[in-house]
């Protein structure tokens, strides 16, 4: 059975239409993984000696235990955003003679073979070995290491429970953030010293190994809950009987001002409002808008004007970046319709352009209060807004012609990497790095005002050449039309 399931996954990975690109992404991820492994490994090797030096009066093991609570919280938050329960297309299996619990067990067991569960071992094992070499009783240390492994698995299964409970809501990240902040707050303000409790519990396991049954029991219960929840989801009617949404319509008459682009703009606005993934990216706008506050309230950055342009591009362009990077994949599910309807490609692209340009203007206006931190900031933001409209919109549209990945609009948004390919990473270079470098150089050799003027000037050039650029971009889309239609038909 296991062999069969693994075979299916192997095939779905290697036979997917976007295989080449997924591989590229996987390689990048591989490098990140390697980096973390090295970090953890060096932490594990050196921790004993570092702790000995910084806390000469305390047991290193005791110190480590007292930090375990923070480890637990951090691990939980990070996993919530980055770890997903392994996905398996289960529908075709339901009618075959396979017991349901086998499928569920397989999915759950598979989740334990995740990078997140192995990573701590790279620190725990060398640390444990150094303890043993330094005369700690080997048996107890091994039990302690086992307890940490159990803790990791507990976090693993706890995360899936939290995820599936909060997946329904729009602001799905809110519960976890609230819970973790409350726990952290309780501990930090000494109302309830959870970290101390955690530390003592793990020390107790070290001293009397019989207590290991406690984490084992907790893990068992969590596994059972996960198992039950997944079993419920395994029935077809939970897929068939999905909640039917009442239509919320809004008046979009104002778009008629844009003439023959109006139907597309209305479509895009509905796209944004009525689908989970796009809707939650609206919240990213708020984040983008306040992004500047992180920097401008900091002495170090307020005195580094070359940072202004980065924040300017980012905060006036947060919609542009979020929305633009998946043009035209947003429309991938009905791309064939658009390609056979009475639509000129150019108009379709122009409506996307208009929407992005409008968002930049609106975000710039909303960001005007930043003038509180100095008029230079406003000037830099103004220059970057023009750069966004003139250059970055076109860059985004051009990059879109390389999009070959379908997007399922109904999935949740935050940290959903569906539809992400190498292009989305590459596009960041002209988008953010180029204006920063240009601005930085000009600022260094000339002065702030000239640098702003030239950035804005580049934007103006883009706006003047808009029709010409759009023509080039359109022909690029036309060239890759068949490829896109084919790719958007694929499910993976």
């Amino acid at each position: 059975m296991l062999k069969l399931f693994l075979g299916l996954e192997w095939k779905s990975f290697f036979r997917s239409a976007s295989f080449g690109k997924t591989l590229g992404l996987k390689i990048i991820m591989g490098f990140f993984a390697l980096y973390f492994i090295v970090m953890f490994l060096s932490l594990g090797i050196s921790a004993f000696f570092i702790l000995k030096e910084t806390y000469p009066n305390q047991e290193p093991l005791f110190v480590v235990n007292s930090y375990l609570f923070y480890w637990f919280l951090g691990d939980l938050v990070v996993r919530f955003f980055f770890q997903k329960l392994p996905v398996m297309s289960v529908k075709p299996l339901l009618t075959l003679p396979i017991k349901r619990h086998k499928i569920v067990n397989y999915v759950l067991w598979k989740s334990t073979v995740a990078f997140f569960n192995f990573l701590p071992l790279f620190a725990v094992i060398p640390f444990g070995l150094t303890l043993i070499f330094n005369g700690y009783p080997a048996g107890n240390v091994i039990i302690w290491m086992l307890a940490l492994l159990l803790l990791t698995l507990i976090v693993n299964f706890l995360n899936f429970i939290i995820e599936s409970l909060s997946a329904q809501s729009e602001l799905s990240a809110l519960p976890i953030v609230v819970i973790c902040s409350v726990l952290f707050g309780l501990d930090y303000f000494q109302i309830l010293s959870i970290s101390n409790l955690f530390g003592r519990a793990f020390y107790a396991i070290y001293e009397s190994p019989i207590f290991i049954v406690v984490p084992i029991l907790v893990l068992g219960v969590l596994y059972r809950i996960n198992f039950k929840m997944l079993c419920q989801k395994l029935f077809l009617d939970s897929g068939l009987k999905t909640r039917v949404e009442e239509v919320k319509s809004s008046n979009l008459e104002w778009t008629n001002y844009f003439g023959d682009m109006a139907p597309f703009m209305q479509l895009d606005l509905k796209l944004i409002w009525r689908n989970k993934r796009t809707k939650s990216s609206v919240w990213m706008l708020v984040l983008g808008l306040f992004y500047g506050l992180f920097f401008y309230t900091n002495e170090k950055y307020i005195n580094a004007p070359w940072m202004y342009i980065f924040i300017g591009v980012f905060s006036t362009g947060s919609f542009l970046i979020n929305f633009g990077q998946f043009i035209p994949a947003w429309d991938s599910t009905y791309y064939k319709l658009l390609m056979s309807q009475n639509i000129k490609y150019e108009k379709y692209l122009k409506s996307k352009f208009t929407l992005m340009a409008l968002s930049v203007i609106i975000l710039f206006v909303l960001g005007i209060p930043y003038v509180y931190f100095g008029w230079k900031i406003l000037l830099a933001h103004f220059a970057s807004a023009i750069y966004n409209i003139g250059v970055n919109t076109h860059v985004m549209l051009y990059g879109g012609s390389y999009n070959r990945k379908k997007i399922d609009l109904n999935q949740k948004a935050a940290f959903n990497y569906q539809g992400t390919g190498a292009m989305q990473w590459l596009i960041g270079i002209p988008l953010l790095v180029v204006p920063m470098v240009v601005f930085g150089l000009l600022y260094y050799f000339l002065n702030f005002e000239y640098a702003c003027a030239i950035i804005a000037g580049l934007g103006v050039v883009g706006i003047v050449l808009h029709d010409k650029l759009l023509g080039i971009i359109t022909s690029k889309y036309l060239k890759s039309k068949y490829e896109m239609i084919h790719a958007f038909e694929q499910d993976n």
């Binding site: 949404e245 239509v247 309807q341 009475n342 639509i343 000129k344 609009l409 068949y482 084919h486």
Partner: protein, 231 residues
Amino acid sequence: MITTSNLTKKYGGTQVLSIASLEIPKGQSFGLVGNNGAGKTTYFSLLLDLIKPSTGFINSNGVQVSTSEDWKSFTSSFIDESFLIGYLTPEEYFYFVGELRGQNKADVNKVLLQFKDFFHDEILGKRKYLRDLSKGNQKKVGIVAALIGNPEVVILDEPFANLDPTTQIRLKSIIKDIAETQGVTVLISSHDLLHITDVCERIVVLEKGEIIKDLETNTETLKELEAHFAN
């Protein structure tokens, strides 16, 4: 109206479609039958320029479909559910398609009124998104949307599949009507020999990508087709 010449489509080394010449005059109701893999959908996709021909071309009303986009203004189609926009209501979808074809809301409403029967009170005014409709109702929406905006060419792939018997019968009379009285060229494909002989004046049988029969429909056609597919 639609001229196909030397059209072939190859995937890798295998040829999936090869039509040396096919002429479909204006106002004809044209039926395409054939077993799975015979090339019906491939032909329709080529007609809509969704895939690229390996050789040859299709000329629709004087426009070569793979080089110009001008055919789009007089051609409409429904191939499968990927032609629907899931997050719109049926009304919004009709208005959207209508607007693309230069029809205002009143025009679209007039068309929809004709299909009141066809919708069977399950489509309009239900405040539901298309993604929440059943497969059959989605299909109805797609077919009706393809009839908005006075197209001269209508292409429907398997229009009868997934529909209930009542709707199938209504659809047949709709297709006959637009071909006979409005001079619309209708191209449909189907696995249902009875329906297609009922509706179409002419039936072409495809097998492994090639035309092996080209029949004017008469009382004997159904028997002939049945005999052909029985072997």
